[in-house]
């Protein structure tokens, strides 16, 4: 492969386009499979259990500590301007709008996305997917779709838990440890946070991140090279690509949602 030979450049472009087309077709298929997936709730339930329940502890702990740190840092800065009472508002807005969806998606990519990629990649390496096709069982419908939709359902719930635990963490540090007035903490928060603009947009964000992260994980596993090295590379790519996708999408979504 050399960049000056036109045939090589052409081949590179063509194969990239083919990859992109494969990814898009798989994405559309997975979206279209929402009905059949929901009609087999047992498969979906096991995936939500695997992706959601097992991620709950890490998400809740991270949310708690992010809330602690936000309260400490926020109080530090706000006190300089004599507005420490706005601490609840600052903590809640930053959690609900940004940190909740983004940090949850990053953790979800590391905690659940990698295991999805490794599982599907190993199924491919062990030729289980081919075996299913031999038995006229569609692996996309039987293996990929429940995992994809399980992740998409679990992600907004995890982000909500993250934000709620973070708000409580901010309250613990801000009110119980630093001594901000509890009425001001909740009152400022309630007058400044909008249900649809802030909480609703946060939920939309986490839904989009859930789609992106779970799809990248599933896709990387599905197209992984059927070797031990291929699976390990696919797992690494899942984390890298999902993290970048989340941060990039976050910028676009924030620009669309909060600048109008």
């Amino acid at each position: 492969m050399s960049w000056w030979r036109p045939s090589d450049v052409g081949f590179a472009v063509r194969s990239k386009l083919a990859d992109l087309g494969l990814a898009t077709r798989l994405f559309v298929r997975l979206l279209a499979l929402v009905g059949p997936t929901l009609r087999r709730p047992a498969l979906l339930r096991d995936q939500i259990h695997f992706l959601g329940n097992y991620s709950l502890s890490i998400i809740a702990m991270s949310g708690l500590f992010v809330g602690f740190v936000l309260a400490l840092q926020g109080h530090n800065v706000l006190q300089r301007y004599g507005s420490a009472n706005a601490l609840g508002l600052v903590v809640t807005l930053s959690l609900v709008r940004e940190l909740g969806p983004v940090v949850t998606a990053l953790l979800f990519a590391g905690r659940a996305g990698t295991s999805l990629t490794a599982e599907i990649g190993l199924m491919r390496a062990g030729e289980q997917l081919s075996a299913m096709e031999m038995m006229a069982v569609d692996p996309v419908r039987r293996i990929l779709a429940p995992r994809f939709w399980g992740g998409v359902i679990a992600m907004p719930l995890l982000a909500a838990v993250f934000s709620a635990v973070g708000v409580i963490g901010g309250w613990i540090v801000g009110v119980l440890m630093i001594g901000v007035d509890t009425g001001a903490f909740w009152g400022q928060m309630q007058s400044g946070v909008d249900v649809f603009k802030d909480v609703g947009n946060g939920v939309i964000k986490s839904l989009v991140f859930g789609l992106a992260v779970t799809f990248i994980a599933v896709f990387q596993g599905y197209v992984a090279k059927p070797t031990p090295e291929g699976v390990s590379r696919a797992t690494t790519r899942t984390v890298v690509a999902a993290s970048l996708a989340v941060l990039g999408l976050d910028f676009i979504l924030t620009a669309l949602m909060f600048t109008l």
């Binding site: 339930r45 096991d46 939500i48 709950l56 719930l157 708000v167 309630q190 946070v193 802030d198």
Partner: protein
Amino acid sequence: MQHSKNDLWVGLFVLLGGAALVFLALQSANLLSLNFHTGYPIVAKFDNIGGLKPQAAVRSAGVVVGRVQSITFDDKTFRANVTLDLDKRYAFPKDSSFKILTSGLLGDQYIGVEAGADEKNLAAGDVVTATQSAIVLENLIGQFLYGKAEEGASGAGNKK
């Protein structure tokens, strides 16, 4: 369909996620106190609105009685048209005056309503011109300096 022990845990997980959303909606965004009942629009004309923003509160005697709906500029009179959405529960006399105030030193700006004495009440679409603009700090300082300078000049004159 067969039940499995995962059912319980997945159910708990979904309920927990739902509870977190409800907590965020109720406790931090105060969904219940949103008033869904409608208001009536009033247009107030201001010379200068300062930093007033849409959605700012309209208060009378400190109680929120409405919200600022939209702010537009009128290039015929060169004044700002502020459309207020006043709560239907409250009626104000026709000669009520509106002024732009600031809550606290660095707080948000809001509109204060002082009730007049007219027997007729404001109705939807009425235009109010009895307004008092926001205080612009630069103008205030300018006036203060001007006053001081004048005082100094007359003081010096007296000494002579």
